[in-house]
């Protein structure tokens, strides 16, 4: 691209924004940047006017700024510490000096630079520049690579010294890994939604649901295909669900509907709480103490393969009433999942961690508190997720066999009462409530493991 401002300008003329952007565009390392980024760089660049013979900086001074030469020529003499093969170099328009500001560990100035003519230079703060580059990681990294190459090729600096700073990494958003340094809160959400809408995914998802509901409708209500005609269709279910006067007595507007939900949720909450309270410490000790594990794990493993539902009659025998057996069964299922995964979590801890802690002076209890528990957290939360799932699984089964109220009970009685749409309403409600509970566990886990969320956001450890 040809540019009208390529000719050397008379000293003293204004370096306005347009000229700065045009200059930066011709400056080799900035080539990968978009116009918008160049404008941002230009906004932090300060024009400096220098006389012939002026010293811009000299060896061992602090290196905060990078300079881009707009007009004039500058002598660049590297000091011995730079280990360059060619020490003196004359630089001119659209060349970059002062690049020490961009180096890793930020050494002091490595060179002495003197103006050979009257010069116009742009002073750009290195840290600010890096922050701007970090907004767009891909091109930003390319810029830094260009700098490193320039140092080796043009300034003959050895490779080990040419290592440039790493760009500060930002938390990635979504699978596309878009960098959103200056987006926060609402705007971030909006941005994500916009990105999502631009991809084909929402439309395919819509297509998927349309196909599913369409097929269901056609098979049951539309064409009355054999056997499918016995199932309630989507229209019937929807009408029943949202009706103020439901034919079969259960809809969004009947209090009974919420009573069933409330019963199931309360049972899940009680069972989950109990199972976590018992399962987490049990699992931690199983993993922590070999003796404890060797004594208790065989019993645990003998009882575990027995399906939870096989416990139903025994539970009814052991506990009086209808409520306690249901809670017992649900707790038992959750307990196994939680304890087992917590134990695996403790076992997954690299042996160096407890060793490191003990050689830093931590006592046995401190190792447990600061290493074993946090180290087991990721597996533990996987266990809790599974635990919620199996809790629902067992609860529904238990409610269907015995117990009163609850969604499983609702589904079962709707079957016996031949109120078929209510069965589907019950199932759908189970799905929704089940999803919400497991999402809650996931969110709680993310809250407790910020270190892991941040690590995974960077695509695993390096």
């Amino acid at each position: 691209m040809t540019n009208p401002t390529t000719t050397v300008l008379a000293a003293g003329s204004e370096l306005n924004e347009e000229r700065i952007v045009a200059l930066l565009k011709r400056t080799a390392p900035f080539e990968p940047l978009s116009d918008q980024r160049l404008r941002e760089v230009a906004s932090i660049a300060t024009p400096v006017y220098l006389k012939k013979g002026d010293l811009i900086y000299t060896v061992d001074e602090r290196s905060d700024d990078v300079y881009v030469i707009a007009t004039g020529t500058v002598e660049h003499a590297l000091g011995p510490s730079a280990q360059a093969t060619q020490l003196v170099k004359i630089v001119g328009e659209a060349d970059v000096i002062g690049w020490a500001a961009l180096l890793k560990n930020k050494p002091a100035r490595l060179a002495k630079t003197t103006c050979l003519q009257d010069c116009e230079v742009l002073r750009i703060n290195g840290q600010h520049l890096i922050e701007i580059l970090a907004h767009d990681e891909a091109s930003g990294r390319e810029v830094m690579t260009c700098f490193a190459k320039m140092l080796m090729n043009e300034f003959t600096v050895p490779a080990w010294l040419s290592q440039v700073q790493e760009l500060p990494r930002k938390v990635k958003v979504g699978a596309d890994g878009l960098e959103t340094a200056n987006l926060t809160g609402v705007s971030l959400t909006m941005f994500r939604i916009a990105q999502w809408l631009k991809s084909p995914r929402p439309y395919l998802m819509l297509l998927g649901f349309t196909i599913f509901i369409g097929l269901w409708y056609l098979l049951s209500e539309g064409w009355h295909v054999w056997r499918f005609d016995r199932l309630p269709g989507p229209v019937e279910v929807w009408e029943e669900w949202t009706s103020r006067n439901p034919v079969y007595g259960i809809s969004l507007f009947t209090p009974e509907y919420y009573t069933h939900i409330w019963y199931s949720v309360r049972r899940i909450a009680e069972a989950f709480f109990l199972a976590t309270l018992l399962g987490v410490p049990f699992g931690l000790f199983l993993g922590w103490s070999r003796k404890f594990r060797e004594y208790t794990f065989p019993i645990f493993e003998t009882l575990r393969p027995i399906p939870i539902l096989a416990w139903v009659p025994l539970a009814i025998l052991m506990f009086s009433g209808t409520e306690t057996p249901v809670i017992f069964l649900t707790t038992l299922a959750s307990f196994f999942a939680t304890a087992l995964n917590t134990m695996l979590g403790v076992e997954s801890i690299d042996e160096s961690y407890p060793r490191a802690a003990s050689c830093l002076g931590a006592s046995k209890w401190q190792v447990f508190r600061h290493v074993v528990i946090p180290g087991a957290l990721p597996h533990m939360f996987t266990g809790l997720q599974i635990s919620v799932g199996v809790a629902w699984f067992s609860l529904v089964a238990a409610e269907m066999v015995s117990g009163q109220y609850g969604l499983g009970y609702l589904i079962m009685t709707s079957y016996t009462m031949v109120s078929y749409p209510t069965i589907i309403i019950g199932m759908a409600t189970l799905g929704i409530v089940g999803y919400i509970t497991s999402a809650m566990v996931r969110i709680a886990g993310d809250q407790m493991m910020q270190w892991r969320v941040r690590e995974l956001a960077l695509g695993g450890s390096q």
Partner: protein
């Protein structure tokens, strides 16, 4: 390009003066140590009558083929493993011996692990402050303050509040060394700490380590299988035989400290390399022929 380059004349002079006094604590004496694994059935001798003297404030580099039992020796000093025979003293105090086969791990002998053991669930700063807080020698506030200072002096400011998983492997290694030094240890035990790093980062790390050493003067027990690294860093290089592990050759590196990368191209360095290369190669071949592998 670390402080070595930035150095001004004053610092350099001070460092040279420091060099004459090696440090006063952290002498390790290993006497006829044996370690046999699995007393029933197929006994494997990992360490065989190994005797070694490491002076206070010395950088002792242990070189040997993979899986030769170097780490076993380190674990015995650190107190992670017991020994079968022999004694180990730290500053004339018994660490482990016939009546006490396993030493107690403690903050006077801090290990820097092969794959790094910064706790991923604690920020870098919390990691560095971990030791004093656990030992109860400092309040949390003091510990964090000191940790911040120490990180700053090692050029690690800016990464205090990141989690280790968010920082580069080079930074992680330095944080780990700073974490060890926070406890003012007598001995720093490093188990191939730079194994996973690329050669560029490694060279930076070497200078950073020397820099830290010049300031702190701790005894360093450094396991590696990189001979160049060993000669560049060490006062003394101990070449181990393949399993069972025993010193085969002890080399005193007479290149004066402080050293920088220029040493690598010096004549004396090359001579020392040539002198020891054969011994190392011989053991490596033995190990290879026996088909021993790590792990």
């Amino acid at each position: 390009m670390n402080a070595v380059i930035q150095s001004n004349a004053f610092e350099a002079k001070q460092r040279e003066r420091n060099m004459n006094t090696k440090g006063t604590k952290g002498a390790i004496r290993i006497e006829k140590v044996d370690k046999v694994y699995d007393p029933e059935g197929a006994a494997v001798k990992a360490v065989d009558t190994c005797s070694l003297d490491i002076g206070a404030g010395e950088i002792c580099m242990i070189v040997g083929p993979s899986g030769c039992g170097k780490t076993t020796l380190l674990n015995a000093i650190a107190g992670f493993h017991s020994i079968s025979n022999g004694t180990i003293y730290l500053d004339d105090e018994l660490l482990c011996g016939p009546d006490k086969p396993k030493a107690e791990p403690g903050p006077d002998r801090v290990v820097v692990f092969q794959n790094g053991a910064l706790f991923p669930w604690k920020t870098n700063l919390e990691n560095v402050a971990f030791g004093p807080i656990m030992q109860g020698t400092m309040s949390k506030k003091e510990a964090f303050e000191k940790a911040r200072d120490m990180m700053a002096s090692a050029g690690l400011n800016g990464s205090e509040n990141s989690y280790p998983g968010e920082t580069s492997s080079g930074v992680r290694r330095r944080v780990e060394i700073v974490r060890a030094l926070m406890n003012d240890p007598k001995v720093l035990l490093l188990d191939e700490p730079y194994r996973a790093l690329d050669s560029l980062t490694k060279s930076v790390m070497h200078e950073a380590l020397l820099d830290i050493y010049y300031k702190n003067k701790v005894t360093i027990f450094f396991i590696t299988h990189d001979l160049e690294e060993a000669i560049f860093l060490g006062h003394k290089v101990v070449i181990m035989t393949t399993r069972p592990c025993r010193p085969k050759k002890i080399l005193d590196v007479d290149i004066p400290h402080p050293r920088d990368y220029n040493v690598l191209t010096s004549k004396r360095f090359r001579e020392l390399m040539d002198e020891t290369m054969e011994a190392v190669h011989e053991e490596a071949m033995k190990a290879f022929e026996r088909g021993e592998k790590e792990g």
